[in-house]
Symmetry: C2
Subunit: 476 residues, 2 copies
C-alpha cells in the first residue's frame, strides 16, 4: 500500500491531529542539525493512546515513524531521514509531583524546565539540565540520555528515571518499572529505552526521581596559567572528594570568545587564561563547611580566583560560561560540536592532544565542559565555504574521535548518535557490539519502522546543505 493510502487511513482514525500541510511537514522536517527531510504527515497526539494508533498503522503499512520533542538535538536524531510520519509530542505535556515520595510524573512532551519548576515549588530538585532545558523535552532527554552541568555529582537522565510507559514499534502499550525507587522484576527494558533515540519504541510518559532542593549555593571562579595546569588542579580537588555540583572548564580560546563578547577580561590584566567555574550546593551548613577547604585549594592551585557573595555576583561569574558558545561564531560560520568524554586519569594527556590538534588543523577548537564527569564540548570552528578549512575540520573530528576512544573515553556523553555521530559509532563499538544492538533492534522493531536510518547507517551530515533557520535556543 502506498504511504498516501496509509496516511488517509491514519486521518480517518485521528482526524485533525494529522497534518499533511506543506508548512506543517516542512516545520517537522528538521531538528537543530538543520538538515531537512520532508515527512508525509505530522501527528500531534492529544492523548498517549494516539501514539499507539500511529505505530499500529505504521507497523502494518511499513511507514517510517520519527518522534520529536522540540527538535533541539544537534545530532539529527529527530530528522525524518526516510520520510514517513513524524510524531510531535507537543501536546503531551502534563507534569505532576508526588511530594511525599519525591517523584515527578511527566508526559514525554513536557519541557525539562517545566518539570524542574513544578518540583522546585514543592522543595524538590530535578538535576539533569541540558543547556536547552527551557525548550527540550523529557522525552527527548530520555531518547539521548541527556546530561548537563550537574551530571558529575548528581547523574544524568538515566539516573533519575524510575519508570517509563509508551508503545512498542508494533503499537502495543508497555510499562517498564513502577513509580518506586526499587524494581527488579524481569529484563530491564526501561533502561534499554533510555538512550535508544526513538528506535525501539516511543516513550509517552515517565516517572522521575527527585532529590531535595539544595538550600544553599556558592560559586567560585578560578583561573590558571594554562590548560594542563587547570586540569591537573581539578584532579587534585576531586581526589580530596570534594564534589562540586557544577565544575565547568573553559580553555583559553573559549575564554577569549567570552571576553570578546562581554568586552572585559575575566580577571583584570589576565586575558585568555583558562578558567574553572565551580558551584557547590547543599545544606547551608554543608556548603559553609566546604568553603575553607575549597578556598585553600584555590589559593594553592589557581592563578587567581573570585567567590560570589550573592546571587547577583554569581550571575556575573557565570557570564563567562554563558557567553562563550555564541561568541564562537566569530571564529567560523560552521561548528562541529562534539560532546566527547575523557576519563579523568587522561585529562592532562587530552589537554596536550588538543593543543596539538589546534596546531595541526590550523583551526580554532574552543573547548569547554563538565570536569566532574569528563564530558567536554570540543568545538571545531571553520568556514563552510572554505573547502580547505572544511576538509581540515573533517580530519580533525576524525582524529579527535579516534583519540578519545584510545584514551578510554566516549564519543558522546549526552547528545547521542543520531546522524551526526554515525561515522564514529564503530570506533566506540566492536562489530560484535554493533551486531548485538542490531539484533535487539530487530527483536523489538522487526519491520524497522521506528526512526530508521539512524545510529547504524553512516551519514556525514556536514556534507548536506544546511537550512538558514534560527531557533529560539540557538546561541545569539
Amino acid at each position: 500500500m502506498s504511504i498516501a493510502t496509509a496516511t488517509r487511513q491514519l486521518k480517518k482514525r485521528l482526524g485533525a491531529r494529522v497534518d499533511t500541510s506543506r508548512e506543517g511537514c516542512w516545520a517537522a522536517s528538521f531538528d537543530s542539525s538543520k538538515i531537512s527531510f520532508l515527512p508525509a504527515a505530522v501527528i500531534t497526539p492529544r492523548q498517549e493512546s494516539d501514539v499507539g494508533i500511529v505505530l499500529e498503522l505504521a507497523n502494518k503499512h511499513r511507514v517510517p515513524v520519527t518522534v520529536r520533542g522540540r527538535g533541539t538535538t544537534l545530532m539529527g536524531s529527530a530528522a525524518p531521514v526516510r520520510g514517513g510520519w513524524v510524531v510531535d509530542t507537543l501536546k503531551l505535556a502534563k507534569v505532576s509531583i508526588d511530594a511525599d515520595a519525591g517523584l515527578a510524573l511527566v508526559q514525554a512532551g513536557a519541557t525539562t524546565a517545566s518539570a524542574q519548576r513544578a518540583a522546585e515549588k514543592l522543595g524538590w530538585f530535578y538535576p539533569p539540565d541540558p543547556s536547552s532545558k527551557e525548550y527540550c523535552t523529557i522525552g527527548g532527554n530520555i531518547a539521548c540520555n541527556a546530561g548537563g552541568m550537574h551530571g558529575g555529582k548528581y547523574g544524568v537522565t538515566r539516573d533519575f528515571v524510575v519508570a517509563l510507559r509508551g508503545y512498542l514499534p508494533t503499537g502495543e502499550f508497555v510499562e517498564w518499572g513502577t513509580a518506586t525507587k526499587k524494581f527488579s522484576a524481569g529484563f530491564n527494558l526501561r533502561d534499554l529505552w533510555i538512550g535508544s533515540e526513538g528506535m525501539l519504541g516511543i516513550v509517552t510518559g515517565a516517572v522521575l526521581k527527585l532529590i531535595p532542593q539544595p538550600a544553599a549555593r556558592w560559586t567560585l571562579l578560578t583561573s590558571f596559567p594554562d590548560e594542563v595546569t587547570a586540569l591537573k588542579a581539578a584532579r587534585t580537588l576531586f581526589r580530596s572528594r570534594v564534589q562540586p555540583a557544577i565544575c565547568e572548564f573553559l580553555d583559553r580560546e573559549s575564554v577569549l570568545c567570552a571576553e570578546r563578547a562581554t568586552g572585559k577580561t575575566v580577571f583584570p590584566g589576565q586575558a585568555g587564561r583558562p578558567v574553572i567555574l565551580l558551584e557547590f550546593a547543599g545544606g547551608v551548613a554543608e556548603v559553609d563547611d566546604l568553603k575553607a577547604d575549597v578556598l585553600a585549594w584555590a589559593q594553592r592551585e589557581a592563578l587567581a580566583f573570585r567567590e560570589a557573595r550573592s546571587r547577583a555576583e554569581a550571575e556575573e561569574l557565570w557570564a563567562v560560561r554563558r557567553k562563550c558558545s555564541g561568541a564562537m561564531f566569530e571564529l567560523g560560520d560552521a561548528k562541529l560540536n562534539e560532546d566527547i568524554v575523557v576519563p579523568m586519569k587522561n585529562y592532562e594527556k587530552f589537554a596536550r592532544f588538543l593543543a596539538g590538534l589546534k596546531r595541526s588543523s590550523k583551526l580554532p577548537v574552543p573547548t569547554f565542559g563538565h570536569l566532574a564527569d569528563g564530558n567536554l564540548h570540543v568545538n571545531i570552528m571553520y568556514h563552510r565555504e572554505d573547502k580547505a578549512e572544511a576538509k581540515r575540520a573533517e580530519a580533525a573530528v576524525q582524529k579527535l574521535m579516534e583519540t578519545v576512544v584510545a584514551f578510554g573515553g566516549a564519543i558522546s556523553g549526552e547528545h547521542g548518535i543520531g546522524l551526526a555521530k554515525t561515522p564514529f559509532l564503530r570506533l566506540q563499538h566492536s562489530p560484535v557490539q554493533v551486531k548485538a544492538m542490531q539484533a535487539v533492534k530487530r527483536a523489538l522493531d522487526p519491520r524497522g519502522i521506528c526512526n530508521p536510518g539512524k545510529m547504524f547507517d553512516v551519514v556525514r551530515i556536514w556534507k548536506f546543505p544546511k537550512l538558514e533557520v534560527k531557533f529560539p535556543w540557538d546561541h545569539k
Copy 2:
C-alpha cells in the same frame, strides 16, 4: 553431540579449571533456595577470557550454562535447573580503586564487602549493601540489581554501574560503557544486562561509581503505637525532604521476634511496638543540622525514641534489626520471603491489607524493610510438614503479589525473579511485555544456553524438596 563429549572438549581447553567430580558438581547444584539440580561440570575461570571459551563451546554444543557468585540468592537464580555447566566466578575477584575519579574497577567474583572496604580505605563509599554483602558478589548484585538498606537515598546497584564487560551467550567479548560517568553512544546494553540474571550473557568485570564516604552518622530508634501510625509518620518525614541514609521499619511481629531473641524489650514497658530505625549520614555539619528537625518530628509523631550518642550505642539500637530475621524461625520452619515494593502513597493501605492477611491466613507474617523506597520484606512463616499451613502460605503469597501490583508496586525490589518469583511475573508484566523480553532473549541468546528455565517458565519452588544445608550467611 552428547554433553559428555562437549565436557571432554572443554577439559582439553581449560584443564583443571573444569571440575566434574561428584562433590564439585553437588556443591554447585544449589544456591540459597536449597533446591538441587546437578550440573555436568563446574568451571572456575582463572581469567576472564576463560568465560568466553566456556560460552563459545556451550553455544556450539547447546550446553546450558548457569553462572554463580557465592550462591546467596534465595530466588534459585543460580540453580542449574537444566543441568549443563556452572561457571563459578570465585577466582575473578580483583578490585582496584581510581581515587581521583571515584570509581571502583572490579571483577564479577569480588564480594560486595571487598569492594566497599577497598573504596573506604581511600575515603570513598559504595552504598549498595545487600545483607549478605560479606559473601555475595558484584556479579551477583548486577544479575539481580541488588539493593539494600541504602537504596532510598543513594540508589541500587544499577545506579552505581558505569560500565560492564563480559561475554555474550555466543562467547563473544563485549564492553558496554566506558570508565566515565557519562556515556550516550549506542543502545544501552549495559543496563539491559543489569537485572538480567545471567540470561543475556555473563558479566566478568564492572566499573562502579563511588561517592565520598560520609564523615558522620547518627542513629535514632523510634517506636509507634501501630503500623499505620508508623507508616504515616514516615511519610510526614519524607514530605519534609529529610533523607535518611537508612530508614528501616519493623512491624509488631518482627519486633516481638527481636525481643524474644535479645531477651529484652526495645523500649522498656512497650513490648511489641512497631519501630522505625533511622540513620542519617553526611558531613559533620550536615548531620548536625538535621538533628533538631528530626528530633522534633520524633517528639511529635513517635510513642518513644532514643538516639545513639556513640557507635556503641548505635550498635545497640541496631540489635533489633539484626536479630529479627533469624528469630522468625521460631514461628515456623519455612519462610516465604518476598521483597515486594509498595509506592509511598499506599503505605497505610498496605499496612491495613497486611493486618488482614495475617488474620485470614492465620499465619505469622513478620514484615520489615526499607521505608525510603517502599521495599518491604514480607515473611510468610509456616511449618513445612503441616499441609494446611503450607496451603494457606501459598494462598497468602498469591494474594500478597496481586495486591502489591494492584497498589502500583513491584513483586521484587532487589531479589529478582529466578525460579521463586516465576509464578508472579505475569502479574507484573502484560503478555506484550513478557513477549518483548523473550524477543530480546532470543536476539542475544538464540540457542537459549544462558541460565535456561528461569524467569519465564513457571516453577513453584516451595513444592521441591529442600536440602538440609547451612550457609555461613544463613540467619542463626
